[in-house]
């Protein structure tokens, strides 16, 4: 259905979401939202509280099943409908995420958290784990090296043996991103990564996200920090009451009347 639709600037569309819908009771939390994520771009999703942003991420990762709509992933070898796949399959296909309220494996070491993130990349099973055959040892070593390299990148390598729960808040946020990266995703969904961060930490985060984007990762970003969003995002989608009300670059969004209305309320004497 989406064969080879090229984005306007020539980069390929990795993810095409068409008319996804999810209702809780009578309330449409996400109502027929379309979204197209182009490869290598940073795509922000903003909106007032309760606009359905996190639900939207939960639909993409199949944590909640969508009522209707299609989600098509095209990694270069043809489009693939993923809306009926389970969460772990979607992760294996290359969509990783973080959570708004950090969901680390608290009673696992920092290193084990990241190594658990590599789960989908390997195949060894019970017998390999018990016998520790050559294949198993090399895979395990590779997972370990790769995890350590990622921890090195965010400066957490010294804390690799600590329980994740003992890290300070900012480092827990970093660890969660690193854990998501350990699965070697093509698309990374970040759900309010800057929440609770101070200015300096947010700047670090800005740099880190940029770096990931330069390395070719496609990023979907839910964020309330408008400075961060306006700086980073190539495309911004605005949701309000589960409906997409605007889409465009930072300048277009800032001047969109419906967006201003959604955030500030209607001008009475226009």
């Amino acid at each position: 259905m989406s064969d080879g639709i090229a984005a306007s600037d020539g980069s390929r569309n990795l993810l095409e979401i068409r008319k996804v819908k999810k209702s809780f009771g009578g309330l449409a939390a996400v109502n027929e939202v379309d979204l197209t994520a182009a490869e290598g771009k940073i795509h922000a999703i903003i909106g007032p509280n309760g606009a359905g942003k996190t639900t939207f991420f939960n639909l993409i990762t199949a944590i909640i099943p969508a009522d209707s709509g299609t989600i098509v992933l095209d990694l270069g070898d043809g489009p693939l409908n993923i809306e009926h796949l389970p969460t772990h399959r979607i992760s294996e296909l290359g969509i990783s995420r973080t959570f708004q309220n950090i969901r680390l494996f608290s009673y696992m070491s920092v290193l084990d958290n990241v190594m658990a993130g590599t789960h989908g990349r390997y195949r060894q099973f019970v017998w390999a784990a018990i016998s520790r055959n050559r294949r198993y040892r090399s895979d395990e070593q590779q997972a370990r090296d790769l995890s350590l390299a990622l921890l090195e990148k965010v400066g957490l390598v010294d804390k690799k043996d600590e329980y994740a729960r003992n890290l300070p808040y900012g480092e827990q946020r970093k660890l969660e991103i690193v854990r998501a990266l350990a699965g070697d995703p093509r698309i990374l969904l970040l759900d309010e990564p800057a929440a609770g961060m101070n200015n300096r930490e947010t700047e670090d985060l800005d740099g880190f996200i940029r770096q990931l984007s330069r390395e070719g990762l496609t990023i979907l970003l839910i964020e309330h920090d408008m400075k961060l969003v306006m700086n980073l995002a190539d495309v911004i989608t605005v949701l309000d009451h589960g409906v997409k009300i605007a889409e465009g670059n930072a300048a277009q969004i800032q001047n969109d009347e419906r967006v201003v209305e959604a955030y500030l309320g209607k001008r009475r004497y226009a």
Binding site: T61, I63, P86, T87, H88, S91, E92, S96, R97, F99, N101, I102, R103, L104, F105, S106, Y107, M108, D112, M115, A116, G117, T118, H119, G120, R121, Y122, Q124, F125, V126, A128, A129, I130, R132, Y136, D139, E140, A143, A164, R165, N166, Y169, Q172, R179, A180, A182, G183, G196
Partner: protein, 339 residues
């Protein structure tokens, strides 16, 4: 004090394990009276039972009060196959494990979607079903009469009848089981289990097929329980349904909870304490259940994760009183406040 013991053990763990192994090996020929050897065989069997339940409850975070039933399924399978079909122990024992694992997978399919309290009751009910089936199927199990005369295993034509030879057999079985569980724990599979225990949704987004791994944990735990049952049956030579009742499941769960959940040594410590201490005070035998109960209460209050455990299986309500309950940081910022 706790820190010094811990670091001492860690530093000298190689020497300590060599000394421990040597002591266990020379035990039957030095101070091992038949009675002491018998106690040690039971300790070994319960180490396997507690370690395998820990795989289900401690690693993967699923309660099970049906472990005694899988132990019983293993014991009965091996005994019936040995007496009915005349198969040797080396055939009946693995079959007992596999059969218990299959039933475990089946029960896992039915119960792995349940959480916490519901899972406790589901597995508890299953344990009771198994006991009642054994009691009421006299053609197969001889019902309330139990099965006597289960033959001792033979190896290269020698019967392992004496206590000392059986001691070595069960010791090897225990060592291999703990070793296998240790390696599973420190592997991709073990990390997936612990990830499920910590946060199912996050585990799924890391590519872990949560349901499949829960069934896997359940059936592997039951595999070891079934094997332990076979070793037990051919050791005591007589089994009956009341040996594998819910009380047995409680005992194994208590071992895991007291020794420590989610670690390798925890269940070993728990099994040793809960078998050896009651033997030391045999004249108080009728108070055994009181001892188990009190021990469980004390551990839950003082050290909820158990003596050498990683994470408590019973979580204390936030804000309630406790002696070792320390909050590291405000709940609003902590990861445990998620969802």
């Amino acid at each position: 004090m706790k820190e010094t013991i811990g670091s001492f053990v860690r530093r000298y763990r190689i020497y300590l394990s060599i000394v421990g192994a040597v002591l266990l090996i020379v035990f039957p020929v030095t101070l091992g009276t038949p009675y002491l050897i018998q106690v040690m065989v039971l300790v070994f069997i319960y180490i396997v039972l507690a370690s395998s339940l820990n795989l289900i409850t401690g690693f993967t975070g699923m309660f099970s009060l049906g472990h005694g039933a899988f132990y019983g399924i293993g014991a009965y399978t091996s005994a019936i196959l040995a007496l009915g079909l005349g198969l040797p122990f080396w055939v009946t024992m693995p079959l007992a494990g596999i059969f218990a694992a299959l039933i475990g997978a089946f029960i896992g399919l039915a119960t792995a979607r349940l959480r916490q309290t519901f899972l406790v009751f589901g597995t508890l009910a299953f344990g009771e079903i198994v006991r009642i089936v054994i009691m009421n199927w006299p053609d197969l199990t001889r019902g309330p009469f139990g099965i006597p005369g289960i033959p001792a295993p033979t190896i290269f034509g020698f019967s392992l009848k004496g206590y000392a030879s059986y001691y070595y057999l069960v010791m090897v079985f225990m060592a291999l089981s703990v070793f296998a569980i240790y390696r599973l724990y420190h592997s991709r599979v073990g990390r997936a289990w612990v990830a499920i225990r910590e946060d199912e949704t996050a585990a799924a987004t890391m590519g872990v097929p949560v349901f499949g791994y829960k069934i896997l944990a359940f059936s592997l735990g039951c595999l070891f329980a079934g094997l332990a049952g076979a070793f037990y049956a051919h050791f005591v030579t007589y089994i009956s349904a009341d040996q594998f009742s819910v009380t047995e499941s409680f005992l194994i769960l208590t071992m895991v909870a007291v020794g420590g959940t989610g670690s390798i040594v925890g269940p070993i410590i728990g099994a040793v304490i809960l078998i050896v201490v009651p033997e030391l005070v045999r004249f108080l035998a009728q108070y055994r259940a009181v001892f188990y109960g009190l021990l469980l209460i004390v551990v839950m209050v003082v050290k909820p994760e158990g003596i050498a455990g990683v994470k408590a299986i019973f979580m204390r309500a936030p804000g309630s009183i406790g002696f070792s309950h320390k909050r590291k940081k405000p709940a609003a910022l902590g990861s445990e406040a998620s969802q």
